[in-house]
Every structure is written in C-alpha cells, then in structure tokens.
C-alpha cells in the first residue's frame, strides 16, 4: 500500500510521523520511505543515509536544430508558457519557463525541435536501517519542483515494497498534489489549533478532490483547543492517531533522533496504526 503523509500547514509533524512510522515498520515488513518535500527535505536528517543525492534529475527541454529551423516562429507563438521567443533566426529558449509539454516540437513544420534533459536537482536512493529510502534535493533557485517529485516517486528501480510511505511537501499547490497523486490513502497531519484546523480543511479538500480516502492524525494533543476534534466529528473524518504533546518527542526530533527507535511503546502504537491503515485501504479498494 502507498500512504501519503500530507498537511495543509507546514510544521505539523509530517516528517516526524513519516520517519517514525517507517522506522517502526522496517524489519516487520518491506518498507519504503519517499521524501517528496524536495524544496526542504528533512527525512534524511533522521534516517541518516550513508548516501547523498548524487543522481542528477532532469526535465526535458526543447533544442532547436539550427540547420533545419527556418525561423518561422510558430513554436514561440504556440507556447502557452512564453518559454520561447521568436527571433529573426533560431528562437531563444528560456528553460526555466518550459513546462515540457511538447507543443513546440509538435507544431514545428520542419521537425527541427528535439528534447534534451536539463538538470533541476539530485536524487538519492538506497537501503538504510532496513528500509528503502528515496529523496530528492531541488537546486536552489529552481522554481518548479514537480519533475523532481515525480522522480522521487518513481519506484521502477526499487525493490518490491509492501508499504510505501510518502512524505509530502506542505500546502495545496502543485508539488503537494503531485506527491499525493496515486497514493491509496492520505494521512493528514494537523495540530489542535486554529491554524491547524484552517489548514486541515484545505488538506481534506485536496484529498477529496483527488478522490482519495483520508484520515487525520492529530499531533501535539493537549495544546490548543477541541475544534479540530469537533471538525472531524462533524465531517465524519476518522481520527487515526493522536500523538500527545510530549516534550520528549519534540526534543528527540530537535536532535534528529527517531523516537520510535528508542521508545518501544511508541513504535508499537505506530504498528497498530499501520495495520489499521491497511484495513482501511483494503476496505476502500473493495468498495
């Protein structure tokens, strides 16, 4: 099963839950952890892989064959993203604006346009602490992260995995949606605060728009108030797990430690949570 850990708001504990859950399941079942927050990846700070992201990831961009190009400018005028500029000679490409849609090559009457890869970030993948870990690091200054998110999610070269945990970037924009797409179940992490509730609503709306079954994990229970609980009851959203506001967890996190690795009770709780998720995924499939 593929579980995506998401949230509207940043800092609710997506990464904490992802790495702790993956750690609790590693060794019990074949487990994969994919850090799809390629702008600000953090899972590696906790799972501490020996490998760095060294495999370049590119996104295809057009190249124009100067021999064949007649300078007609059709490609530039067809580009909805303004990534090509028609000049008297060969058009100018602005690679950072290119969405790799292929329209320019399609419209070129001379078939003068082909595609090459432009590097946007780095990918790392391998075994660590009994789990398969995959993460990406977007180059600073790159605006579009979706191609790298897609590369992190591509499990073609990965071993067979029973459980795949995807740590999504925060928010509701394209990178978050790209990370969520194709998962069997969305676990939405929130805090019992007004900010947490507001952003949970957005996350729920996202999952519903993707027609993805979802449930809520409430982190730092004890701070704030009861409005997140009230909202879940009202919306008939299952509360899958409640993690108490425990300074030990916060401190372990701050040091880059995985609490589930040192606290057996917490690890057990997460394993129960995982089997509950599996049952929910199976119910959603049969339905």
């Amino acid at each position: 099963m593929k579980i995506v850990i998401a949230s509207g708001k940043g800092g609710t504990g997506k990464t904490t839950l992802s790495v702790n859950l993956a750690t609790a399941l590693a060794g019990v079942t074949t487990t994969g952890l994919l850090d799809c927050d390629v702008e600000e990846p953090n899972c590696h700070l906790y799972v501490k892989p020996a490998f760095a992201p060294t495999e370049p990831v590119g996104t295809p961009i057009p190249v124009v064959d100067e021999e064949l190009c007649t300078g007609c400018g059709l490609c530039a005028r067809a580009c909805e993203f303004n990534a090509l500029l028609a000049l008297p000679g060969v058009p100018l490409l602005l690679p950072e604006l290119c969405h790799n849609c292929g329209v320019c090559a399609y419209v070129c009457p001379e078939k003068a346009i082909s595609e090459v890869d432009r590097e946007v970030g780095m990918l790392g993948a391998g075994e660590v602490h009994g789990m398969y870990f995959r993460w990406g690091l977007l180059h600073v200054g790159e605006a579009r992260s979706t191609p790298l998110v897609r590369a992190v999610k591509d499990l073609t070269d990965a071993p067979a995995l029973h459980t795949v945990i995807i740590d999504a970037p925060p928010g509701v924009a394209c990178p978050a949606v790209e990370a969520m797409r194709g998962a069997d179940f969305a676990v939405l992490v929130t805090e019992p605060t007004p900010f947490g509730l507001h952003d949970l609503r957005l996350a729920v709306e996202t999952a519903r728009q993707l027609a993805m079954p979802c449930g809520v994990v409430i982190n730092r229970v004890g701070i704030g108030d009861s409005r997140v609980h009230d909202y879940c009851a009202q919306e008939d959203l299952p509360i899958l797990l409640e993690i108490p506001d425990d300074r030990r967890i916060a401190e372990a996190c701050s040091r880059g430690e995985v609490f589930a690795a040192v606290d057996g009770a917490f690890a057990d709780k997460l394993r129960v949570f995982a089997s509950d998720l599996e049952a929910r995924v199976q119910r959603a499939v049969t339905r």
Partner: protein
C-alpha cells in the same frame, strides 16, 4: 529608428510605465519624426508566466531597435539582448520627456537586468 517605450497610456503625454512585462501599453515611436503606434501590452496579462518575454516579443515584432522602460528583469533582458535591442532606463516623467532625453543622449543604457525576476 523605432523606439519602444512602456507607457501607462496611448499618447506621448502618457507617463512612462515603470514595469516592462506588465506595462499597460507599448508605444512604438519613430525617432525623430515622433509618429507613434500604441500597442496594447495587456493581451497576455492572464498568461501564467513570462509576461516579460511576451512584452519582448511585442518589441521585436514591431521592429523597434531600442526600448525605454523603468525596470527590466533578467529573463526579459536576455530576450531583448538576443534580439539586439538596446535597453534604456527612465525613472519617471512622460513618454515625450523620455524621448527628449533619449535623443539628447541623457538616458542610461543598461548592460544588465536591474531588478530580479517576478518584479
């Protein structure tokens, strides 16, 4: 020669629009005759991105060889440079005043973008 100027209105008396990509009008002025053609620069305003590139395309398509604007970002500058269009910066005033200064050689020609993208 033809000079393109970003403007808030369609006339010589209109103020220079400090923005390039999202300027209201592009005035293409024959110098020294001062006949002009006003090009609506807002057609691509709803484009998701690349307003500066679209504006640069407007400048090129109208056969201007120089551009006067307030600020120019890196992508637009790259586009204009590729088309051999000189970029001059005007800090305010009307289109007519900017052309006066241009003809008097008092406008600063810029050799690089003066603002970041997304300006």
């Amino acid at each position: 020669m033809k000079v393109a100027i970003t403007a808030a209105g369609p006339e010589l008396s209109s103020p220079v629009d400090q923005r390039f990509g999202r300027a209201r009008y592009l005035l293409v002025v024959d110098v020294p005759e001062r006949t002009l053609e006003a090009v609506d620069n807002t057609a691509g305003m709803n484009a998701a991105q690349g307003a500066g590139i679209q504006a640069a395309q407007n400048v090129i398509d109208n056969k201007a060889t120089a551009l006067i604007t307030g600020h120019c970002g890196p992508k637009a500058f790259r586009a204009l440079k590729a088309a051999n269009i000189d970029v001059y910066l005007a800090s305010g005033g009307t289109v007519a005043e900017a052309i006066d200064q241009f003809e008097a050689g008092k406008l600063e020609q810029t050799s690089s973008a003066d603002v970041d993208s997304h300006w």
